[in-house]
C-alpha cells in the first residue's frame, strides 16, 4: 500500500509540471502581466519588471524563472490589491474548504440514499419522480437554480410575512461579527450548499443507481437470496458495499466539477473564497494571482484523483496494488 501511494505521488509530479507549463504558456500568451504598469507610464518600472519576469526571453526560460520562485514560496504580489499572493490565496482557501466540505458531505449522503432507494424500488413512483428530478437537475444552469432558491426561500418569505430577517441568508457564511458553528452559520450554509450540490447529486445518484442495480443482479446477491439472507442485509451488506467502490471513484473524479461549481456558488452568495478571488483577479487581468490559483486547484484535483485510486483499492479487495 505504501509503495503504491509513493508511486502514484511520484507519477503525479510530472503531470502537474506539464499542466503548469501549459497553463503558464496559455496565460502568458493571452494576458500582458504589465498592462497595469504600462498604463501608469513608468518606463523604468516596466523595464525592471521585464527584467524580473524575464519577459524578453523565451517562454521556456520565463517558465523556469517563474517555477523557481513558485516552488521556493515566492509567489509575488497581486497587481490588483498589492498584497502577497500567498496570503490572498491562504485567506481565500478557508471559506472555500468549508463550503466544499459541507457540499460534498451532503451531496454524497443524499446521492447515496437516492441511489439505494431508486435501485431497491426500481420503477416505483418514487424512483420515477427522482429520475425526473435528476434530469431537471442536470439540465438547468446551477446559478439559475441558486437565484431561484434565494427568491423562494429567503426573499419571498421575508416579504410575504414581513419578517425582519430572511429565514435563510444568502450573503457570506456568517452575519457580521458572528463566528463559529451555530444556527447563524447553518442559516447561511443551507442555500449555497443546496445550489452547489444539485448538479452533483443529479449525476451521482444516476450513477449510484446503476451501480446498485448492477450489484443487485450479480451472482453473489442471488446466492445470498437463495440462502435466505434477510432482504435488508442483502441490500446493505452485499449490494451497497459492492457498489461503493465505483461510486467513490466517480465522486472523487468530479473534484474539478465541484471546484467549478464553487466558483459560481461563491459568486452568487458573495462568499469571499477561492472562486471570488479567481473572478476578481480575472476581471482585473491579475496574472500574478491567476496562475498560482490554477496550479493550486490543479494540485487539489490531482490529490482527489489519487485519493480515488486509494479509496477504490481499499473498498475493493480484488484490486491488487502494485
Amino acid at each position: 500500500m505504501f509503495t503504491f501511494i509513493i508511486r502514484r505521488v511520484l507519477y503525479s509530479i510530472p503531470v502537474i509540471l506539464v499542466a503548469s507549463f501549459v497553463l503558464f504558456w496559455a496565460v502568458r500568451s493571452t494576458f500582458d502581466p504589465l498592462a497595469k504598469l504600462r498604463q501608469a507610464q513608468d518606463p523604468t518600472a516596466v523595464a525592471r519588471e521585464i527584467e524580473r519576469l524575464g519577459l524578453d526571453r523565451s517562454i521556456l526560460e520565463q517558465y523556469f524563472l517563474w517555477l523557481r520562485s513558485f516552488v521556493t514560496g515566492d509567489w509575488g504580489t497581486s497587481s490588483r490589491t498589492g498584497s502577497p499572493v500567498l496570503q490572498l490565496i491562504g485567506e481565500a482557501l478557508w471559506p472555500t474548504i468549508q463550503l466544499a466540505f459541507w457540499g460534498l458531505l451532503v451531496a454524497v449522503i443524499v446521492a447515496g440514499l437516492v441511489s439505494v432507494y431508486s435501485a431497491v424500488r426500481r420503477y416505483s413512483l418514487g424512483d420515477n419522480l427522482l429520475t425526473g428530478a435528476a434530469y431537471l437537475g442536470i439540465a438547468m444552469p446551477a446559478f439559475w437554480f441558486g437565484l431561484i432558491l434565494i427568491q423562494t426561500f429567503a426573499v419571498w418569505p421575508k416579504q410575504q410575512f414581513g419578517l425582519a430577517e430572511p429565514p435563510l441568508y444568502f450573503i457570506g457564511l456568517h452575519s457580521p461579527g458572528q463566528d463559529g458553528f451555530d444556527l447563524d452559520y447553518i442559516r447561511h450554509l443551507v442555500l449555497p450548499v443546496a445550489a452547489l450540490m444539485i448538479a452533483l447529486v443529479a449525476t451521482w445518484s444516476r450513477f449510484g443507481r446503476a451501480a446498485m442495480l448492477d450489484a443487485m443482479s450479480s451472482d453473489y446477491v442471488r446466492t445470498a437470496r437463495a440462502k435466505g439472507v434477510p432482504r435488508r442485509q442483502i441490500i446493505w451488506r452485499h449490494a451497497v458495499r459492492n457498489s461503493l467502490a465505483p461510486f467513490v471513484t466517480v465522486v472523487a473524479l468530479d473534484a474539478a466539477v465541484l471546484i467549478g461549481g464553487l466558483v459560481v456558488t461563491e459568486q452568487i452568495f458573495a462568499i469571499p473564497g477561492m472562486g471570488r478571488l479567481f473572478l476578481d483577479s480575472l476581471v482585473a487581468g491579475d496574472v500574478f494571482v491567476l496562475l498560482p490559483w490554477m496550479i493550486v486547484v490543479a494540485i487539489a484535483v490531482v490529490i482527489c484523483n489519487l485519493l480515488a485510486d486509494i479509496g477504490y483499492a481499499l473498498l475493493d479487495p480484488r484490486v491488487r496494488l502494485r
Binding site: P141, A256, Q267
Partner: protein
Amino acid sequence: MSGAGLAGSEELLAEQDVQQGSGRQLLQRFLKHRLALTSLIVLLLLMIVCFGADWVAPYPQGQQDLLLGPTPPSAEHLLGTDELGRDFLSEILYAGRISLAIGLFVALLSTLVGTTLGALAGYLGGWVGELLMRITDLFLIVPAIALLAVIVQGLGPSPVTIVFALTALGWTYIARVVRAQVLSLREKDFIDAARGIGASNLRIIIAHLLPNLAGVLAVGMSLAVASAIIAESTLSFLGFGVQSPQTSWGSMLSQAAGYVGTPQVYLLYFPGLFILVTVLAVNFIGDGLRDALDPQGKHL
C-alpha cells in the same frame, strides 16, 4: 493472401451493408422512442422560432416602450416586459439565436476535431494515441469553467471566442469516445479485409470506420450541444460571455439576477426555462439515440 482470401474479404466487406441496414433500424427504433421524438419536435420548433425571430417575434428586437415600463405577463406581452418596456418574449427569441447557434456550432466543431484526432489516435495507436490521451487528461485537472473564463477573457469576449473556447475544451470527450470505439473496430475482420485488398489508411478510416461511428457521434454531439448551452449561460452569468448589445439566454439571466426580490422576478424565470427545455430536449434526444443503438439497455 491468396485469391480465395480476397474473395473471402469481399464477403467480409459486405458486413458494412449489415451496418447500413441497422442504420434504418436505428431510425425506426429512435422514432418509436416517444420522449425522444417529442423532444426532437420541441427542439426543431425552438430552432424555427429563434432563428426565424425576424418573422415570428411579436415585436422587433430591442423596441423600447419607456412609458410602459416593466409589466407582468399579459395578452399583449405574453412573457411581460422588462424595465425598458421591451417585449420579453421577443427578446428571448432573439437571444435564443445566439445561445442555440453557440450550442450547435460548438457541437459541430468539437465533433469534427474530436473525431479526427480520436480516429487517428485509435487507428494509428502507438505514441500518437498515447500523447493524445495524455493531452485530454490535462483538461480534466483544471475546472472547465475557470479555463473557459480565462480563454474568453484573454481573447476578448464575443460569440466567436466563446465557440472557440468551448470547442478547445469540448473535443476531448468526443476524442476519447471515438478512440475507444476505433480501437475495438480496428480488430474487426472487415477492416482486416479492407487492408487485405489494399485499401489505404485514409480510405479505411473514411469509408469503413467513420460510418460505424455515426451512432456514438450522434450521442456525443447531443451531449456537446447541451453542455455548450449550459457553459455559455454560466460564462455569461459570470460576466465573461456574450456582451451587450448582443444577448443570449445566459446574459439575459445575468441581467435578471438583479430582479431577485423585486416584483419583476418573473424576468428571472423565463430565460432559464428556455435553457432548461432546450437542454432537456437535447438530452432526451441523446437518450433516444443511445437506446436505439443499445436496445438491450445495458446503460440502465
